[in-house]
Symmetry: C2
Subunit: 452 residues, 2 copies
Amino acid sequence: MRFGFVNKDNMSLLTDLYELTMAQVYYKKGMNSTAIFDFYIRPAENRSYFINAGLQQVIYYLTNLHFTAEDLEYLRSTGLFEKEFLDYLKNFRFTGNLYAVAEGEVVFPNEPVVQIEAPMIEAQIVETFVINTLQHPILVATKAMRAFSVARGTLLIDFGLRRAHGTDAGMKAARSAYIGGFAGTSNVLAGKEYGIPVFGTMAHSFILAHRNEIEAFKNFIDVYPENSILLVDTYDTIEGVYNAVKAVKEIGLKQFKGIRIDSGNLLELSKKAREILDREGFKEAVIIASGGINEYKIKELLDRGAPIDGWGVGTELVVSADLPYLDCAYKLVEYDGRPVMKFSSKKRTLPFKKQIYRVFQDGIFHKDIITRYDESVENGRPLLQLYIKNGQPVKEFPPLQDVREKAINSFRKLPDELKDITASRQVLPELSQSIKDQIKKLEKKFLKRREK
Amino acid sequence: MRFGFVNKDNMSLLTDLYELTMAQVYYKKGMNSTAIFDFYIRPAENRSYFINAGLQQVIYYLTNLHFTAEDLEYLRSTGLFEKEFLDYLKNFRFTGNLYAVAEGEVVFPNEPVVQIEAPMIEAQIVETFVINTLQHPILVATKAMRAFSVARGTLLIDFGLRRAHGTDAGMKAARSAYIGGFAGTSNVLAGKEYGIPVFGTMAHSFILAHRNEIEAFKNFIDVYPENSILLVDTYDTIEGVYNAVKAVKEIGLKQFKGIRIDSGNLLELSKKAREILDREGFKEAVIIASGGINEYKIKELLDRGAPIDGWGVGTELVVSADLPYLDCAYKLVEYDGRPVMKFSSKKRTLPFKKQIYRVFQDGIFHKDIITRYDESVENGRPLLQLYIKNGQPVKEFPPLQDVREKAINSFRKLPDELKDITASRQVLPELSQSIKDQIKKLEKKFLKRREK
C-alpha cells in the first residue's frame, strides 16, 4: 500500500518525464551552457494584483535536490535512460542562481517573479516543481488578501484544510492565507510547522452526540471556560444563541468567547444574535460566521451592517474557487548568452536576464518597469534579489509574521482602483527603452530568417 | 526553513484544531461510545455521477495514525490540552471499523461512500484528514472519466503536475486520472510509486535552446529514435510539421512516434498535419494535442473530425476546473446506539448505520437503494464492504490497473443519459421503506421536543 507521500528524498522525481528526457539529450549533446528561465503569471480577468508566496519552498527544493539510488533504479527501469546519464544524475546538485521577488510583495502579470540562472540541465529539470510550488501559494495568498482588504479589521481564519486538494495544499493554504493577512488557521500541523496561530470552535457532530444543545455547550465550556466558541446552528440558530447564554449562565461564567453561525441568513441571524448577547450582558462575546464565505460575501455582509467579528473561510479560499489556477509559465529567456524569444501565438516571452523596478509616487504604487538586469531606474526599487548563489542559499528568510506584514504594507500602497475586489484593471509592467529596442532587433532577425 | 512536508509521522496533526479540543472534552466527560460517521457527496450541478477514489490513502492513514512525542509537545505548548489527555493521545490508535465503496465504483450524491464506526474520539479526530484525502481524488477521477467517455479510444495522458495544488495533489491527480481511464501520466514519481505508465514529449524551451527547429528535432530523435514526440508549434505549426518530417528523413528513420501541437486552432492544424504526415509516408506517426484541453474540447474536436490520436490534459483535469471542490461532508449518524439526525437548514443527514444496494436491469444501472445495514435487497449488490476491522486492514487492495478497469466497467453500465457530459440529471439513491419509517419517527420526536 503506497500513500505517495512526497519528501526530501523523493521530490526530485516529482517532475514531468520530459524534463528528464530533454536533460539526457542535453547531456549527450553537450548542451549545458547557462540558461535563464523566468517564472511569471499571465493576466487573469478577475485579479488586479497577486501576492507573491511559495518562494521559501522553492529554495528548499533547489538546495536539497538529489537523486537517490532508488530514484535512479526506477529511471533505469523505464528503459529511457542510459547508464552514463544516470551516473551523471547520481551526483546531480543544483549549482545555479535564483533571483526572486520577496514573499509577500505585490506582483503583477508578465513580471519575472522568479528567475533561475543555471546550467541548462539543472534549470530545465526543476521546471515542473518550481511551477507547482509557486502557483498554489500565490493563488491562496492573493485570495486571502482580497478577503483581508474588505474585512475591516475583523478576524479571518483559514478553515480550508478538509477541502484543500490534498495534504500539501492544506499546508500551503494555511501558510499562504497567513501571508495574505489572515490571523490564523484551524490546521494544527501548519501551526506546528510554521508557527501560525491556531483557532478552533466545535462541530455539529459535537452537539448531536449530546442529548441536547445545552448539555453540549456546558460540557465544552466546562473544559474550555476561556476558549469556547459555541456553534449555535445545529437545530435552530436563535434558539441556539439562547441555549448558549443559558449554558454560560448555568456554569456561572460572567463572559464567554463567543458563538459561531455556520448556515442560514447570516445578516439577520448575526443581528438577532448580537441583540440577544448584548441584552444578556455578553457584549464581549464575538460572532464568527462560516459556511461558503468568500471576499464578496464578507464585503456585502459588512456593508449591510452585519455585526460579525470574525470569519472562518474554507473551501473558496484554499481552492481559490473563482480562479482555481493561474495561467503561469516558466520560460527560457536566454541560453548561452543568446537572448531567446518565443514568437508563435500570442504567448510571447520576454528575452534576457532582467530586473524589475518598482516606482512610487507620494508613497503610492505608480508602476513597475522591467529592464535588462544591469540597467537602473531612478527612484525605482529593484524587486529581484539573489536568494541562491552557486547552489547555496545566501539570504536569510524573515519570520513569517514579517512576510505577512510586508504583504499588508505592499497591498496598502496600491492605488484604490486596484484594491477594489471587483476591479478589472490590469496593471502590466512597462518595458525599459533599451529592452524594447533589443526586442525589436530580435523580431527583425526572426522575420528575416523566416523569409529565407 | 520548513518545507511543511506531510509524512507518516506527522500526519496525525494534519487536522482541524477543533477535532482535538472536542476530543479532549469527550475524553474528560467519558463520552467515548461507538459513533458512526458517513462521508458523502452532496449533489453538484454539473456532475451526474462520481468515480470513487482515494480510499487506499484513507486506509493507510487510519492504520498508521499515531502521535509522536514532538506532536504532543506542540499540543502541550498551545496551552489547550491537559496532561491526562496528552497521555491518552500517546497511546492513541484507530481501533474502529471502516466500511467503504470500492475505489473505481460509480457513486452518487447522498450515498455513504465511506462509513466509519469507532469510539467517538477516534471517529471524530480523523474527520478532517478523511475528507481531505477523498475529495480531490474523487474530483479528478470523475473529471478524468468524463474525458474518457468522449475520447473514443484516443490516448489520454495526465500533464497536470505543474498546475496541481501542491505536491500531494500532483500525486493524487496522476493516480486518480489513471483510475478514471487515463493511460498514464507525465509525473515520474507517480510512475514510480504507483506503477502508472509515464509519458513525455518535449518543451518549447528545448526548441528555443537550439539554433533552429530541425537541429532540435534531430538531437532528440538521435537519442530517442523510437520515442520522439516532436513539439511543432514553437514558431509556426505547419512549418514545424515539415521540419519534423525533414529531421526524421535526414536522420534516416522510416517511422517516428509523432508530433505534439500545443496551441492554435487544433482542428485545422491537426488536419493539415495529418495530411502532411500521410503524404510524406508517416502514416503511423501520431498527433497529440495539448494546451487547455478538457472533455468539452475533446468531444468537439473529435465530433468535427480532428485526426487527433492523444491528449495531454493538464490544468483543467487536476484542479477539476469546472468543479474545483465537492460539497462533501462527514456527518455523525449514530452515537451510542442512538440514531442521530441534523434537522436545521436543508442539509439534513441520514441517520443509522447503512448499506447501499445497487440494482441493475438488463445489465444497465437501474438504481441504488439505501437501507439499514442489516437489511437486504433482492437482486441488489451491496456496495459497502468492510476494509478495516478493529483497526486492522482486512481487505487486500487490487492492483491499480484493476481499479481502473472497475471504473471503466462501472461507468459503461450507466444508462446513456447519465454518461453524457452535458447531462444535468441527478441520480439520488432511494431509501428503503424501513429507513423512511424510522426517519419519520425521529422527525416526530424532534418536533415534539421543540414544542416543549
